[in-house]
Amino acid sequence: MMPDLLIALTMLSNFSLVATSRVSKAIQFAVFQGVLLGLMPLAMGLGRHFHIVLLAIAAVTVKGWLIPFLFRRALKQVHIQREVDPYIGYTVSLMLCALGTGLSLVLAHNLPLKPGTEYTLLVPASLATLFTGFLLLVSRRKALTQVVGYLVLENGIYLFGLLLVEDMPALVEAGILLDLFVGIFVMGIVINHIRVAFDSTDTRHLAELKD
C-alpha cells in the first residue's frame, strides 16, 4: 500500500516538474521526489537489510539536504531569474510528459518481469521518470534547470534499481549516488563558469564553442 502511494506521488511530481514555471519550485519538486524515493526501500519493507537502510539514509541526506544546499548556493551566486524559460511551452511539455507516461505503461506491460515482483508500478514509474528527466534536459534552456532534469533522470534510474535492490550489490547503488553528487557538483561549477564567460546561464551561448 505504502510503496504504491509513494510511486503515485513520484509520478504526480513528474507532472508538476514539467508544468511549473519557477526555477525554485522545480528544484523543490525534484528534491521532494528524491526524498520520496529515498524512503521507498524502507516502505517496501526492506528495513531488515542493514546496507539498504544505510543507503536509504545516504540517499535522503544527499538528495534532501546536500543537493538542495548546492542548488541554493548556485541560485544565490549566479542571480538567476526566476523563470524556467523553456524551449517548449508548459502545456506541450505536460502533454509530452503524459504521452511518455502512457508509453511507459504500455512498455512496462510488455516487458517480462522477474517472477514474484509485487510492485508492478515500479517499472512504468521508473521509465516515466526517466522520460521526464530527459524532457526537462532537452526542453529547458537554463543550465540550472538542466541540472534539475539530470537529477530527475537519476531518480528514474534509482527507481529502476529498487526493482533489483535485493540482488544488486551495495557498491552499484553507492556508485549511482556518488555519481549524482559529483554530477551536480561539477555542473554547479560549470554553471558558474558559463556565467563568467557569457554573462548569462543560457545554454544557447554554448553553441559558440563549436568549432
Partner: protein, 657 residues
C-alpha cells in the same frame, strides 16, 4: 620454459628502457644498456632454440581465461632480425638523433622505439588472440608516433595519418579474424586445428588474414601507406619498420596458416601471382624515385613481394603435399626475410648517414660522396650488391632457393603461377640492379651536384659500427649459408606442420659448391685489386688526381653536365607507372629556353585513392549539421535513441512473432 622467460624478460628490458628514456632527464646509457641487454637475451634464446632447443611455452590466465606465450622456431626466426636490427638501431640512434635536438624530440623517439621493439617481441611469442591483438596495436601505434617524429612538417603528419588509417583498417580485419578463430578453436588460445570441419569458416579466416596482414606487409593494392611513412621516419626507425615491422604481416600469415588444417590449392598460386605483381610493381616504382629513402621503401615492397612468392609456393606445396616445394618455398621466404632485414637496414642506415651529412633526400642534389664519405660508401656497397641479388652476398641465395622452388613447381605441373613467378623474379632482380645502380651511382659516384654534397663527411663511429656489422653479416651469410640450412629446416617444420627436414639434405652440397666458387671469385677479386694497387701503378702524374670523376676532359662544367639519376632511369620509363613528365616541344634550329619537369605520384595511393577519399570526405561534411553545438539537441538524440530502442523492444515480438 627458460627460453620463453628470457624473451619475456627481453621485452620487459626494452619496455623499462623506453620508460627510462621518457623521463625528463633520461639516463641515456642505462636506457641503451637495458635495450641492448634485452636484445642479447632474446637473441640468445632464439639462437638456442634454433640450434636445437625444444619449443617452450608459458601458460597463464587473463581475466580468468587461459592464455599462452610460446617460443617456437617460427617465433625465433622473427625475433632474430628484430633484436639484431633493434639493438643496432639503438646504437645508431645515439648519434643520429641525439636526445637534445632543436627539432623533434629525442626522448619521444627513444620511448616509442623501445615500445615498438617490446611490443613486437610480445607479438612474436603470443599464442592468444587477445594478447596478439594488444601487441599488434601497441606496435602499430608506436610506429605511428615514430613515423610522426618530425611532426612539424605537414607531409610527415600526412604520412603518419595515412599510416594510422591503414593500420587500423588492418587491425579491424584481424579482429574479425581472431573472433572467427576463437569460434573454431573454442577459445582465444591458439591451437592447431587437426581436421578441417568447415571450409567456409577456414576460408574466411584465411581471407581475413590475407587482407589484414596484407596491409602491414604492403601487398600490392594495400601498400600505398608504405613509401611515404618510410621516407618520413628517422632512418633507424625506417630500418626497423622495413626490416621487421613489415614482416610481422608475413609472420601472421605463416602463423595463422600453420594453425589451419589445410590450404586450398588455388590460394598458394594466387598468392604467388600477387607476390610477383607486388615485386615488379615495387621495383618499377623504385626506379622512378628521386628521393633515395623512398627508393628504399619501394624496394622493400619489392622484397616483400618476393617473400610472398615464397609463402605462396610453400602453400602450393602444402596443398599438394609436396615436401620439397614446402621446404623451398617457406625456406626461401624465411631466408629472404633474414637477408632483407640485414641489407635493408644497412641501406637505411647508409641513407641516414647521407641524410645526416647533407640534409637532403633529393638524389639529384648529391653525388661524389664516395670521395667525401669513403667509409660509408665502403660499408654500404655490400648492401647494394645484396639487394640486387648478386653473389657472393646473402640475397642471392634466398632468391636462388626461390628459383629452384619455382622450377621444380614448373616441373610438377603447376605451371601458370610458377611461370609468372619466374618471369617476375627475373624481372625484379634486373630492375633492382638498375634502381640500385642509380642509387649508388648518383649518390656516391660522379662529382657533387650541389653545395650540400661538397661538405659531406663520414658519420661518427657509433653510426658506422652497426653498418659495418651488418655488412659483415651480409657477406658471412652469403658464404656460410650451408650452416643455416638445419635452422631453416626447423622453421619450415613449424610453418608447415609435418614437413620433413629436406633443405639440409637437398641443398647442402650445392651450397658448399656455391660457397667454394664464391670464395674463389672473392680471392680473384682481391688479387685483382691488389694487382691494380701495386706500388708501380701510381706513377701517373698527380695532376690527374684533382680532376672530377667522369670529367671527360671538360673539367669546368662537369658537375652539371653529368648524367642525372633520372636520365639514367629514363630508359625504363614504361615500367614506372607513377611517373608524369612534361616535355617541351623543341622547334626550329635555335629553340629558346625550355624546361623539363617530371613528378612522381604514387599510382594507387595518390592517383587513384586520394581524390576519391577527398570526395567522400566532402560528402560526409553534410553530417556536420547533426552537430549544432546545443547540449539540448545532443540530449534529444539520446532520448530518441532510447525511445527507438524501447519501441523496437515493444514491436519486436509482434513483428518477428
Amino acid at each position: 620454459m627458460l627460453d620463453v622467460a628470457l624473451v619475456l624478460a627481453s621485452s620487459g628490458c626494452w619496455f623499462a628502457g623506453a620508460l627510462l628514456s621518457a623521463s625528463s632527464r633520461p639516463p641515456e646509457r642505462l636506457a641503451t644498456g637495458l635495450g641492448l641487454l634485452g636484445s642479447l637475451l632474446a637473441l640468445g634464446a632464439s639462437i638456442h632454440l634454433l640450434l636445437g632447443g625444444s619449443a617452450s611455452g608459458l601458460t597463464f590466465r587473463v581475466w580468468g581465461l587461459p592464455a599462452r606465450l610460446e617460443l617456437d622456431a617460427l617465433s625465433a626466426a622473427f625475433l632474430l632480425p628484430l633484436h639484431l636490427v633493434g639493438g643496432l638501431g639503438l646504437i645508431y640512434g645515439q648519434r643520429y638523433w641525439p636526445v637534445q635536438t632543436p627539432w623533434g624530440s629525442g626522448r619521444f623517439l627513444r620511448f616509442f622505439y623501445g615500445l615498438l621493439v617490446a611490443a613486437m617481441t610480445l607479438l612474436f611469442i603470443a599464442r592468444h588472440g587477445l594478447v596478439f591483438l594488444v601487441a599488434w596495436e601497441l606496435m602499430a601505434v608506436s610506429a605511428f608516433f615514430l613515423v610522426g617524429t618530425e611532426h612539424e612538417r605537414p607531409e610527415v603528419r600526412r604520412a603518419s595519418w595515412v599510416y594510422l588509417a591503414c593500420t587500423h583498417t588492418g587491425t579491424l580485419l584481424l579482429t574479425a579474424m581472431v573472433i572467427l578463430m576463437a569460434q573454431r578453436m573454442g577459445g582465444l588460445t591458439w591451437i592447431a586445428l587437426p581436421v578441417s570441419t568447415s571450409p567456409l569458416f577456414e576460408g574466411g579466416i584465411l581471407v581475413l588474414a590475407l587482407a589484414g596482414f596484407g596491409f602491414k606487409a604492403g601487398v600490392l593494392p594495400l601498400h600505398f601507406w608504405l613509401p611515404s611513412a618510410h621516407a618520413s621516419a628517422p632512418s633507424h626507425v625506417s630500418a626497423i619498420l622495413s626490416a621487421v615491422m613489415l614482416k610481422t604481416g608475413i609472420y601472421g600469415l605463416l602463423r595463422v596458416s600453420s594453425l589451419l588444417p589445410g590450404i586450398p590449392r588455388g590460394v598458394g598460386g594466387a598468392l604467388l601471382a600477387l607476390g610477383a605483381l607486388t615485386a615488379v610493381y615495387g621495383v618499377g616504382n623504385a626506379l622512378a624515385q628521386r628521393d633515395y629513402k623512398r627508393l628504399l621503401a619501394y624496394s622493400s615492397i619489392e622484397n616483400l613481394g618476393i617473400i610472398l612468392m615464397g609463402v605462396g609456393l610453400g602453400w602450393t606445396g602444402r596443398a599438394t603435399h609436396d615436401p620439397w616445394l614446402m621446404a623451398l618455398g617457406f625456406g626461401g621466404a624465411l631466408f629472404h626475410i633474414w637477408n632483407h632485414s640485414l641489407f635493408k637496414s644497412l641501406l637505411f642506415y647508409g641513407a641516414g648517414a647521407v641524410l645526416h651529412a647533407t640534409g637532403t633526400r633529393d638524389m639529384e642534389a648529391l653525388g661524389g660522396l664516395a670521395r667525401r664519405m669513403p667509409r660509408t660508401a665502403l660499408v654500404i656497397f655490400p648492401a647494394v650488391l645484396a639487394v640486387t641479388a648478386l653473389p657472393p652476398f646473402n640475397a642471392f641465395l634466398s632468391e636462388w632457393f626461390l628459383y629452384r622452388g619455382l622450377f621444380s613447381s614448373l616441373a610438377r605441373g603447376y605451371p601458370w603461377s610458377a611461370a609468372l613467378g619466374l618471369v617476375a623474379l627475373a624481372l625484379a632482380g634486373g630492375l633492382a640492379a638498375v634502381a640500385f645502380a642509380r642509387f649508388f651511382g648518383t649518390l656516391f659516384l660522379g662529382s657533387p651536384r650541389s653545395e650540400v654534397a661538397e661538405h659531406a663527411h663520414d658519420p661518427a663511429f657509433s653510426m658506422l659500427l652497426p653498418m659495418a656489422i651488418l655488412a659483415g653479416l651480409c657477406l658471412a651469410v652469403g658464404l656460410g649459408s650451408f650452416l643455416l640450412l638445419p635452422l631453416l629446416d626447423r622453421v619450415v617444420a613449424v610453418a608447415a606442420p609435418g614437413a620433413p627436414a629436406l633443405l639440409d639434405r637437398g641443398l647442402r652440397t650445392d651450397l658448399h659448391l656455391l660457397a667454394g666458387v664464391e670464395l674463389g671469385l672473392l680471392v680473384l677479386v682481391g688479387a685483382g685489386i691488389a694487382w691494380l694497387r701495386r706500388p708501380e701503378g701510381v706513377v701517373a702524374d698527380s695532376a690527374q688526381e684533382d680532376l672530377p670523376t667522369w670529367g671527360c676532359g671538360y673539367a669546368t662544367t662537369a658537375a652539371r653536365a653529368q648524367y642525372t639519376g633520372s636520365s639514367f632511369a629514363d630508359a625504363w620509363a614504361p615500367v614506372q607507372p607513377g611517373l608524369r613528365r612534361r616535355m617541351p616541344h623543341l622547334r626550329g634550329l635555335f629553340p629558346g629556353g625550355a624546361s623539363f619537369r617530371q613528378a612522381f605520384r604514387e599510382p594507387i595511393g595518390e592517383v587513384f585513392l586520394a581524390p576519391r577519399v577527398a570526395r567522400l570526405a566532402e560528402r560526409l561534411l553534410r553530417f556536420r549539421r547533426l552537430q549544432p553545438g546545443h547540449l539540448s539537441v545532443y540530449l534529444l538524440y539520446v532520448l530518441l535513441t532510447l525511445l527507438a530502442v524501447f519501441l523496437w523492444m515493444l514491436l519486436r515480438t509482434r513483428l518477428l512473432g
